[in-house]
C-alpha cells in the first residue's frame, strides 16, 4: 500500500485539528501539539480502487509567537492549508505558509480548505480575495462541524499527488 506524508497547515485556530479528527484514526493525544508542535494521524483512503495510507502531520497553528518548524515539513508529498473564512487574516498566513512550503519542499500539491462553511454568513473574506485564492489554489469549502467536504479535500489532495 502506498504511503504518503501530508501536512495540515494553517493559522492558529482555523480548525485543522477538527478537520483531521473528522477524518482519521488517532492514537496520540492532542497535547502533542502544544508539547512538540505536531501530532500524527493516519487515514487510509481509496482512489480508483487503490488504497493509500495518508500520514497526516497536523502541525501546530501558526501565529506571531509560534512559527512552523520547517523540519516537520520535510518529506511531505502534499499539504492542506486551512483558512478560516471568518478571519481574513488566516488567508494571509496561508500565503506565508505556502512560501515556506515552496522553499522547503519545492513544488508539491497544495489544497486549501476554506473551513467553517457552516458559518458562511459570518465570513469576512471579501470576494476579490476569494477569487484570487481560487485562481492560485485548489480550494474546497469545508465544515469540520458538519463534516461537509472533509472526505473530499483529502481525496482531492490524494489525486493531485498521484
Amino acid at each position: 500500500m502506498l504511503q504518503k506524508k501530508i501536512c495540515m497547515l494553517g493559522a492558529f485556530s482555523v480548525g485543522k485539528t477538527s478537520l483531521v479528527q473528522r477524518f482519521v484514526s488517532s492514537i496520540f493525544d492532542d497535547k502533542y501539539h502544544t508539547t512538540i508542535g505536531v501530532k500524527i494521524d493516519k487515514k487510509v483512503i481509496t482512489l480508483d480502487d487503490q488504497e493509500f495510507t495518508l500520514m497526516l502531520w497536523d502541525l501546530a497553528g501558526e501565529d506571531v509567537f509560534n512559527k512552523i518548524n520547517p523540519t516537520y515539513l520535510r518529506g511531505a508529498a502534499g499539504c492542506i492549508l486551512v483558512v478560516d473564512g471568518t478571519r481574513p487574516h488566516t488567508l494571509d498566513v496561508a500565503y506565508e505558509i505556502r512560501g515556506l512550503v515552496a522553499a522547503t519542499l519545492g513544488d508539491v500539491p497544495i489544497v486549501i480548505a476554506l473551513n467553517k462553511a457552516d458559518l458562511k454568513d459570518q465570513w469576512l473574506l471579501d470576494d476579490d480575495a476569494q477569487v484570487e485564492m481560487r485562481q492560485k489554489f485548489d480550494v474546497i469549502e469545508t465544515s469540520a462541524k458538519s463534516g461537509n467536504n472533509v472526505e473530499e479535500i483529502f481525496e482531492r489532495l490524494g489525486r493531485l499527488m498521484l
Binding site: K5, I27, I36, M55, N69, T71, Y72, G75, A76, A77
Partner: protein, 563 residues
C-alpha cells in the same frame, strides 16, 4: 386587678395543689415537645449536614466518648462488630507482607549466596562499579521487541518487525511520531548539527536509534541493551543503502519495494532471541561437573573410611582368631587402630599380622605376655622345648601330649624328663611311639659282619698275610665293635675257630686247625686287639662247627651285658 392580687386569688383557690399542677403542666409540655422533636430530628440532622459540617463537629466528641465508654465497658462487643471488616483487612495485609518478604528473601538468597553473586562481587570490585549495577547488567534479560526501518526524509515506515507477545500500537503513526520527536529534540536541544539523538530511554525500555543517510533503524529493547546490537544495526543499514540506493533516494511511499529486506530486519529480532534462548537453555555443565566431582570426592572419602573401618575390623578379627592372642580392648578411628592384647610368646606375633595392614592408618598395639593353654599353643611350646626328632610327631589334644612315629631311646629318655617343663601339659603319652637304639643296631651289624668273615689258608699251612686289606678291615671292625660295645656297657668275646680240610691225618689236622686259630688270634693281638677278648679253638672242639671241613678260620662273637 393587679397581678399581685390575681396571684393571691390563685393562691386562695388552688392553694397547695398549685405546685403539683405546675409540675404536671411542665411534664406535658416536655413530652409534647419531645414528640415534636422526635418527628423531625432525623430530617433536621440531614438538612443541617447538607449545609455544613457542624453536626459532625458537635457529635464527634460525644461519639469518641461513647466508643471509649463502650470499649471500657466491654471491648468484645466492639471487636465483634469490627470483626467482619478487620479480619479480611488484616489477612490481606499479612499475606501481602508475607509475599513481599518471600520475594525479598528469594531474591536475597539467589543473589547473596550463589557462586554467580560471588563472581559479580569480584567483578564489581575489579571494575570499580557498584554491585547493584552489575547485578542489573547481568540479570535483566533483554528482548528486542520491535524494529522500525524508517525512511528518513518522509518519516514513513518501510519495515516493521515485532517479536511475539509484544503489544503494538499503529506502527505507521509511531514511526512518524518518532521522527517528529527526534526532530523536536534535536531542534530544541542540540547545539551542534552533527549531534543526533541515538537513544531514548524509559524505565527498562530503550529505543536504540541508528541512522543512515536515507534510512533510520530504531530498535525497541526491553532490558539491557546487547552490546552488539548497534553493530548489527549499522551493518543492516549499510547493506540497505548499498542495495536500495535509488529507491531510498526517491521513495514513492510503497514499502513493497523493500519487501525483500524483511528477513534481514527480522534477523535483528531473531538473532538476539536465539542468543537469549541459547543462554537460557545452556546445560550447566560446569555446575554438574563440580557437583559430580564434589560428590565423588565425598563418596570416595566415605568409601575410604568404610574400607579402613573394614580393614581394621578384619585385622581385629584376625588377631582374635589367632591362637595365643587375647584381645582386651580395641578402638577404631579413621587414622589409627588402637588395641590392647595378651600375647603368648609361642603365638604368631601381632606384628606379623599387622604387617599386612595398609598405610592408610597406623596401628598402636599394647601387648602383655601370658601363657596360653590352647592346644595349638601347647603343641608349639612342646615342640620348642622337646625338639622332637625328624620322625616324631607331637600332638596336643585336651592338654595331653601325644608322641607318635619313631624315636631314639636317647630322645625318649630326654623327653620323659623334659615334658613337665611344657607349661599346661597334663600328661605325656608315648605308647604309640616306636623306640629305636641306633648304637646297638650298629654293634649288631658289626657282629654279623665279623661272623661272616672267613679267612682262608693254603693247604697244610697256618700262615696269614697281615698286609691284606681283608686283614686290615678285620682289625678295624673288631676295634670299632669293642669300642662301641664298651660304651653301651657290653663285654665282647670273640671265639676264633680254625678249620682244616679232610686230607691229612686227624691228629695233624687237629694241630693245624688250632695253629690256624692261634695264628689269627696272635696277629690280631699284635695289631692292638686285647687278648682278653679273644679265644682260639680248633673246629673239632667247637660244638657248632664239629663236622665242617675247610682251610679257614671263622669268628664267633658273643656280647654280654656288663653288670
Amino acid at each position: 386587678m393587679s397581678d399581685q392580687e390575681l396571684e393571691r386569688v390563685k393562691q386562695i383557690l388552688v392553694g397547695d395543689l398549685r405546685d403539683a399542677l405546675q409540675s404536671i403542666e411542665a411534664r406535658f409540655e416536655h413530652e409534647a415537645f419531645l414528640a415534636l422533636v422526635t418527628d423531625v430530628v432525623a430530617e433536621a440532622l440531614e438538612q443541617r449536614t447538607d449545609t455544613d459540617s457542624k453536626i459532625s463537629d458537635v457529635l464527634a466528641p460525644t461519639i469518641d466518648q461513647a466508643i471509649t465508654g463502650s470499649i471500657n465497658q466491654d471491648p468484645k462487643k466492639l471487636a465483634s462488630s469490627l470483626y467482619p471488616i478487620m479480619g479480611p483487612a488484616i489477612r490481606k495485609s499479612i499475606s501481602e507482607t508475607l509475599q513481599q518478604m518471600m520475594e525479598n528473601f528469594n531474591q536475597l538468597l539467589e543473589e547473596s549466596v550463589s557462586p554467580q553473586s560471588i563472581r559479580w562481587r569480584f567483578d564489581a570490585w575489579r571494575t570499580g562499579r557498584s554491585y547493584s549495577e552489575l547485578v542489573m547488567l547481568n540479570t535483566i534479560e533483554f528482548r528486542i521487541e520491535q524494529v522500525f526501518l524508517i525512511h528518513r526524509e518522509t518519516s514513513l515506515l518501510i519495515q516493521h518487525q515485532v517479536s511475539d507477545l509484544t503489544d503494538v500500537k499503529d506502527p505507521d503513526m509511531v514511526s512518524s511520531m518518532f521522527s517528529a520527536i527526534q526532530d523536536f529534540i534535536e531542534d530544541s536541544f542540540s547545539t551542534n548539527e552533527t549531534n543526533e539523538l541515538n537513544t531514548l530511554r524509559l524505565g527498562d525500555l530503550t529505543v536504540v536509534i541508528q541512522r543512515g543517510p536515507a534510512a533510520v533503524l530504531a530498535a525497541v529493547v526491553r532490558g539491557r541493551v546487547p552490546e552488539d546490537l548497534r553493530v548489527s544495526m549499522v551493518r543492516l543499514l549499510e547493506s540497505l543503502h548499498g542495495q536500495k540506493r535509488s529507491q531510498l533516494a526517491d521513495y514513492s511511499g510503497d514499502p513493497a519495494e523493500f519487501i525483500e529486506l524483511e528477513p534481514d530486519v527480522r534477523q535483528l529480532l531473531q538473532s538476539e532471541k536465539k542468543q537469549q534462548e541459547k543462554a537460557k537453555k545452556k546445560f550447566p555443565w560446569l555446575a554438574v561437573i563440580s557437583i559430580a566431582v564434589i560428590l565423588s570426592a565425598i563418596g570416595y572419602w566415605q568409601w575410604l573410611g568404610f574400607e579402613i573401618n573394614q580393614q581394621q575390623k578384619h585385622l581385629i578379627k584376625q588377631l582374635e582368631a589367632t591362637a595365643g592372642i587375647t584381645l582386651l580392648e580395641a578402638k577404631f578411628s579413621r587414622d589409627e587402630l588402637n588395641a590392647k592384647l595378651l600375647v603368648d610368646p609361642d603365638a604368631t606375633q601381632p606384628d606379623t599380622i599387622l604387617a599386612d595392614a595398609t598405610a592408610e592408618f597406623s596401628t598402636r598395639v599394647t601387648t602383655t605376655p601370658y601363657l596360653s593353654i590352647e592346644d595349638k599353643i601347647l603343641q608349639r611350646r612342646a615342640m620348642r622345648i622337646l625338639t622332637p626328632e625328624e620322625d616324631i610327631q607331637l600332638r596336643v589334644v585336651d592338654r595331653i601330649l601325644w608322641a607318635e612315629g619313631t624315636a631314639t631311646t636317647n630322645w625318649l629318655a630326654q623327653a620323659q624328663q623334659q615334658w613337665m617343663r611344657v607349661a599346661g601339659i597334663e600328661s605325656f603319652d608315648f605308647n604309640s611311639l616306636i623306640v629305636v637304639n641306633p648304637d646297638l643296631d650298629r654293634i649288631n651289624a658289626l657282629t654279623r659282619e665279623l661272623e661272616s668273615f672267613v679267612f682262608e689258608f693254603e693247604s697244610g699251612k697256618a700262615e696269614i698275610d697281615t698286609s691284606t686289606t681283608q686283614f686290615q678291615n678285620l682289625v678295624t671292625d673288631v676295634k670299632s665293635l669293642l669300642t662301641q660295645a664298651k660304651r653301651l656297657g657290653y663285654t665282647v668275646k670273640i671265639d676264633v675257630v680254625g678249620f682244616t680240610d679232610a686230607s691229612g691225618s686227624d691228629r695233624i689236622n687237629r694241630i693245624l686247625g688250632l695253629q690256624r686259630a692261634l695264628t689269627l688270634t696272635t696277629r690280631l693281638v699284635e695289631n692292638g686287639i686285647p687278648a682278653t677278648a679273644l679265644a682260639a679253638y680248633r673246629s673239632q672242639d667247637y660244638p657248632t662247627f664239629a663236622e665242617e671241613t675247610s682251610r679257614e678260620t671263622k669268628l664267633v662273637v658273643t656280647l654280654e651285658a656288663e653288670n
